[in-house]
Each structure stands twice: as C-alpha cells, then as structure tokens.
Symmetry: C2
C-alpha cells in the first residue's frame, strides 16, 4: 500500500489525516520530513504538530529551517516554543541564529527562561557548562522515598532525565545522588538520605567538555551533575549530548590530522570560499616546507649529477617515510585521545616504536635492495637505497611517535602533529640521509 | 592527610580497613586499583570485595588480570562471578580468554547462563546480536501500571536497564515499549497496553553494530530492543555499549586512514612483531607504488637533464598534492561516517571540490610563481611550476573526494581510500603533469 506523502496531505488540505499521521510519529523522523518541504509547507506542517511535540521537533531541525520557521511564526507561537524547549537545546538554537532573530527569540521567552538562557550562554563553548541543562530533579535528604516519587511525578514531565535524581542541601550544595532504580527497590518510608550514594561523580562548569565525555565513557553514565566552584548544583549533562560531543571531537581530530581547520558547519551547505579558507592555511605552511625540502635536493646537486639513477628512488623514499611516520603518529594520537596512552608512557613507546621500525625497516629495505639489484645490477646503489630506506623508516616512526607526546607535554593538541607535519619533517630528514649515504657509497 | 594505599592495606593485613574502603568505592575505580598490584595481591583484593560488587568490578578489569584471577579462584568462586556478570559482559570476557579458560568458565556457569552465553557467542562480532544483553524487563499489555512496577521491583535488580521496559505478547513478539517515566506519570490502574508506544524502534540480531550506533545517535536513545527475524524480542542494547562501539569504529577509521590494519589489542601490551605485522602490508603496497612513481621520473630523464632545476620542486609538488588530496578524502570519509554525506550527493560534492580546488590551487600557484620568479628569475620555469601545481591540486582534490564515494558505491570501506592511497595516486599524476607541462614550456 502506497502511503500519501506529508507534502501531498498538506497540498490537498487533508488536515485531519495530517494530524493523525503526526500523532504517533517520532520527533526525529518528523524533523526529517521538513527537508522535503518548501517554506510555506514547513509552516503548515509545524502548526499541525501536536502542541506538546512542537518544541521537541523544533530542536531537531537544521538551523536554516529553524530560522525560516521563526520568520513565519507569531510572537505567541514563538513564545510557546522557546519556553517549551529544553534549556540546552534553546541555547544551542540561539547560538546558531543571527542577532536579530536572537533578539526576537529572547523577547518572547518568559523572564525565568530568559534568565537561565543568558546564564548558560556565558559558558565557554568547550566547557561542561555549555552542554549542560538546568532541568533536573532535585531531592532533599529528609524526604521519604514516597515523597521523592511525588516530587518526580510533579516536576518530572519537564526534566530531561528523571532517572538520576540529585540530593542537595538548603544552600543547593550537591550532597548525593539516587537513581529511580534505587528508589523503586527501596521501601516507601526510607529516607532519601539513607539510600542515596554520597560518593557522587560531578563536573565543574569550567571543565573541558572532552574531559566530561571521558568520565561518561569510563563510568558508563547516563547523566552527570555539574556544580560551580562552591559545589552548588547548577545543572546536569545527559548522555545524548555527550555522544554529540564525542562525534564533534572525533571529527575535529580527523580534520586536524588531515591539516584542515576544524569547522562545525555542514559541508553541503557551506560556501566554497568558506571551505577553501579552512584548507588553505596549512597547505601553504606545508608547501613552504616542501619548498625547503626541494632546497635540500638542490644542495646535493653534485651527487645527483654523478649518479642520476638516485632520483628515481626519491618518491619511494618520501612516500614510505611519510606513511611509516603517519602510522606511528596516528597510533599515538588516537591512543592518547581514548586515554589508553599517557605522556608518562613515553619511554616505553619510544622503545617499542624503535623495535617496530627496525623490523619494518629491515623488511622493506631487504625487498628494495633485492628488487633494485635485480633491475639495475648495481649492488652499491641498491645497498645505498636500502640503508637509506631503513634509516628513514626508523627516523619516521621515532619522530611520528614522539612529536604527539611532545605536543601533549607542551599542552598543545597532539592531533596537530599528524601525517602532514610528520611527512614534511621526514621528507627533509630522509633526503639528507639518502644523499649522505649515497655520497659515502660513491666515495668508497 | 595522606591515605594508606590499598596495596599497603593488603600487605599489612588490615582486612577490616580494606573492606571498609571497598564498601563505598566505584566499580570502575576499583578495577583500576588492580593494575598496581601483583598477582597474589590481586587475588586478596578481589576476595575482599563486597559479594554483590565482585562481578561488576571483574567486568571492568583488563583481560590479563581476568585470566590471572581465574587461575587463582576456586570453582565455586568462579561460578558466582560468571552467573552474576551481565550476559554481554560475560560474552565479551569469554571471547578474550584462551580455550582452556573458556572451558573452565562455562563448566562453572549455571545451565541457564551457559545456554544464553552460547546463544550470544553465535552472533557475528560486528552484529547487533554481539553487543546485546538478554537481561531486560518485559511486560505484558494486560498488566496494570501497578503490576508493572511490581514486576520491575521483582526482576529489576539483575537487569542492565529498567528505565525502558518492553511489552511482548505470549509468543514473545515485540508489541511496544514503555518507559519508567511514562509509568510513573500514569495512573496505577492504567493498562500498560494503553500507555505504551506501539511505534517502537528496534534492531535485528544480524544488523551491523555501526548502523545500530547511528540509530542511537539519531534518536538520542538509552536502550534499543533487538528482535530476531520473526520479531521475537531476544535482547536489548544499552547506550554504554554503543559508546564503546563508536570509539572502536572511530579508532578503526583512524587506523585505516593511516594505512594500518585495525586491531583491538591495546598498544602497550601488544608484542613488537604483532604491531609490525599490522603495519607492514600497506607500507609494502604503497612502497611498490612509490617505486612506480620513481619510474615516471626515470621516463622523463631527458627533460630533467636539460633543466635540472625542475628537480627542486618535486618534493613541494608531491607534498602539496598529497596534502590537498588528503584534506578532501578526509572530509568526505568523515562526512559519510557520521551520515552527513551520501553517495547520492556525489555530483554536488564533485562540483564543490572542483571550485574549492580551483580557489586553493590559484592561491598556492600564485605564491609559488612569484616566489620562484624572484629566486630564479626564470619566468618560464616559474609558470611551468605554477601551472603544474594548480593542475595537481585540482586533480588531488577531485581524486581525493571521488574515491571514497566510489568505494562506498562498490560496498568497500571508504576509509581505505584515505591519505596514503590518494597520495600515491596523486604523486604519479602530479609528476606526469609536471613533466608534460615542463616539456611543453621547454619546447615553446
């Protein structure tokens, strides 16, 4: 059975069928429906949403669609949406909008919402504060389990998670945590203070959001409370936001490791100039290094003139050195990113990479010597190439593994010390080794 | 105040203090304590754990420590651990152990546990079945909310999550889902069938675990039910396992993109031969391509002899081409990995990369022509280099963006089409362009 599309239902004004369709649908799927509609259809669809679902759907729309909808909504409609959004979603949304839209949005927020949004907007975009929401269930130690459930039922509808509840004292200082699971398994007359866990993990508003994500991964959490410097509870972070952070951080690492400035903007809707701008800086820097590497070749022109056959192996040496270095830097950068490796493992890593590179270097060199000897019949030349390759691989893997650790030690981002930089350094080093070895062999 | 370390408490036989310390500690933190202890101390610490925490701590230990402990535990102790582990953790653990240990573990599992473990072991390691657990709360449509809570209280203690409950019919077919939140906000006399959501997202046992992770990300889930081909509920997947999957998949992509065969083994405890083995294959393949690229230079020996200054720019051309290509392939590979780009966007991507590469190419070439002209005073040579660089950048970005899409189209992994392969292809292409342009300019 072919179902009628939502666009058709809108065009043929089948409002009743439309509302029926929207009743049971998932907010994420509904948000996707907007993509195939034009501006007017988007507004009609949005107004047809069940009232309690509108804000949820809205939070999952792309920035463009949000901006378009806001332009078409009346002030009371807008006010309803803003006040109904989870606060962290409201903040994300406001950060995406141009200034004039932000102004209209904040004007239509309730005073309480506006105050909280402004509070959240102050946190640095990489901080725990920026991904937290202020909507959580708080309990008091004196409450009984029954009273706790009453409170959860009363305030829980609007909270992002109700499954972990936070116990605070009268000054809002975080004292403990209790899960709904514990509450359900406890006796109705038990005191919250007696069944809560006082050993509570928390983040501080200024903590780096990547560090927060690591805590979620290490302790398999669903939510984490966030406190200010005086341990007052100010918000919570939920696992869905952490998964987004992890995805963004991973993308950032992929970009940095490919010498691209990270960007949050989606590729397909980004302008060509904007994309080019993110790529040109590092290309230029690395091109300058490439020019310097070329200078090395010029420096050894005499050697090349007496043995032109040396030139043919330059690409092989440069490529292999770059690849060998990239392997090592990637393993170390990733190992540090997932918390498996630390700077203090440096010596162990150095020793391990030295042995790995020796093994790999011997294998690749042996192959190369044999091949070159067969093809050229020149054993001296073949040995010179083999020896250079070996030294280049060892150099590449040592530089590749040590530079990310050095970056970390200097509090820089290890991901910047990836393939492109390593390649450039190893190119220069490899060529110097190559020509020096060749000069020696020629002189012998 | 300096606290006494756990190792010291064990050595000085302060059993009471030790148990007190363990009472309130987090299972994840306790698991870390084992790292600093010797084998005998590990066994003492493990036996001192509160009985209900032992399995939880065990599941977070590294494979080595697990194997060591099992060697020291008695059969009844082992039996207690195995039966107390969450089933997905038990399966992970069994998959890490050598055959003789597995045999002993399964012998000491209860018949029911053994049956379920064997069932789970049958799923392919990349499938939804392999990361699910069979411990979930199932409800019936006829139950009232009160009866549902009774059931949750009765069976919930041993379940990995109780917050999402699954509603099945008498044949265990999945009918709906209801959260504890909904149950808490409902009236005690309501029927589960009336408040559940029948529009339930689920995975099938054979689904790829990466696809499952995408569903979690898209819909912000905490748990997802898994059904067999007849829609019988067989298990659930929880968000903590999905975060692990995402981390592993990202690591795999990083490794593939750096021409390393992916491996689950931790770096620090892996042998040197084992590590070298994962790296040597692709280095060898790429080295062969490098040798071929060298053949291109040899082929154009005549051109080089008449203008030796051409050599100096080879590293710059190769590096810049490789970097420009790596940028594009990384953006496309990552975009597909996070679901932002699809093969069907191919034309749009092609057109965008063409324009981006033209912009980037013009900027880099202009710089190069100006620089080379200043340094060498040879305008013809400078223009030849600039034109070659421009063509190389455009070629690099086109190949770099299209190859991952082609791989996806051919159902291969796009991550394999990353920097190293692109670099090799672009090296060859870039050199051919360079020498052809130089020949033309020389002939003119």
């Amino acid at each position: 059975m072919e179902t009628v599309s939502i666009a058709e239902l809108i065009e043929t004004k089948q409002h009743k069928e439309l509302k029926g369709r929207l009743m049971d649908a998932n907010a994420f799927d509904l948000a996707e429906e907007f993509e195939s509609l034009n501006r007017e259809q988007q507004a009609i669809l949005f107004r047809s949403l069940p009232k309690n679902a509108a804000a949820d759907v809205f939070s999952h729309l792309p920035a463009e669609t949000k901006e378009n909808l806001i332009g078409l909504l009346t002030d009371p409609e807008l006010s309803h949406i803003v006040n109904d959004l989870f606060l962290d979603d409201a903040v994300d949304f406001i950060e995406e909008m141009p200034a004039n839209v932000v102004k209209r949005v904040l004007k239509n927020a309730s005073e309480d919402t506006r105050k909280q949004i402004n509070q959240l907007l102050q946190y640095h975009e990489d901080s725990a504060g920026s991904i937290m929401t202020t909507e959580y269930v708080d309990l008091k130690e004196e409450m009984t389990v029954e009273e706790a459930f009453e409170r959860i039922r009363r305030v829980g509808m609007d909270k992002e998670t109700i499954y972990t509840c936070y116990v605070t004292d009268n000054k809002r200082v975080l004292d403990g945590v209790v899960t709904v699971r514990t509450l359900l398994l406890a006796n109705g007359k038990d005191r919250v203070g007696n069944i809560m866990s006082a050993n509570v993990l928390y983040a501080t508003t200024g903590d780096d959001r990547e560090a927060v994500a690591s805590i979620f991964q290490k302790y398999d959490l669903i939510a984490l409370p966030v406190v200010d410097t005086e341990r007052h509870l100010v918000g919570i972070i939920t696992v869905d936001d952490v998964m987004e952070v992890l995805e963004e951080e991973n993308t950032e690492d992929f970009y940095k490791m490919a010498a691209i400035e990270p960007s949050d903007d989606p590729y397909l809707t980004s302008g060509v100039f904007q994309i080019a701008k993110k790529r040109i800086f590092w290309l230029l820097v690395l091109m300058l290094s490439g020019i310097c590497t070329g200078g090395i070749i010029t420096h050894y022109e005499m050697v090349l003139q007496s043995l032109p056959a040396l030139i043919a192996s330059i690409p092989m040496l440069m490529d292999t050195g770059g690849n060998a270095g990239a392997q090592s830097s990637t393993v170390i950068i990733r190992g540090m990113a997932v918390g498996e490796l630390r700077v203090s493992d440096g010596l162990q890593i150095f020793w391990k990479e030295l042995r790995v590179s020796a093994l790999v270097g011997v294998a690749l060199s042996a192959f190369n010597v044999a091949y070159k000897w067969c093809v050229s019949g020149d054993l001296r030349l073949s040995v010179a190439i083999g020896a250079s390759l070996f030294a280049t691989v060892v150099l590449a893997k040592t530089i590749g593994s040590m530079l990310p650790l050095l970056a970390k030690l200097l509090k820089a981002d290890p991901a910047l010390m990836a393939a492109p930089i390593i390649t450039t350094l190893v190119d220069a080093g490899g060529l110097i080794i190559y020509f020096s070895v060749a000069s020696l062999v020629l002189a012998a």
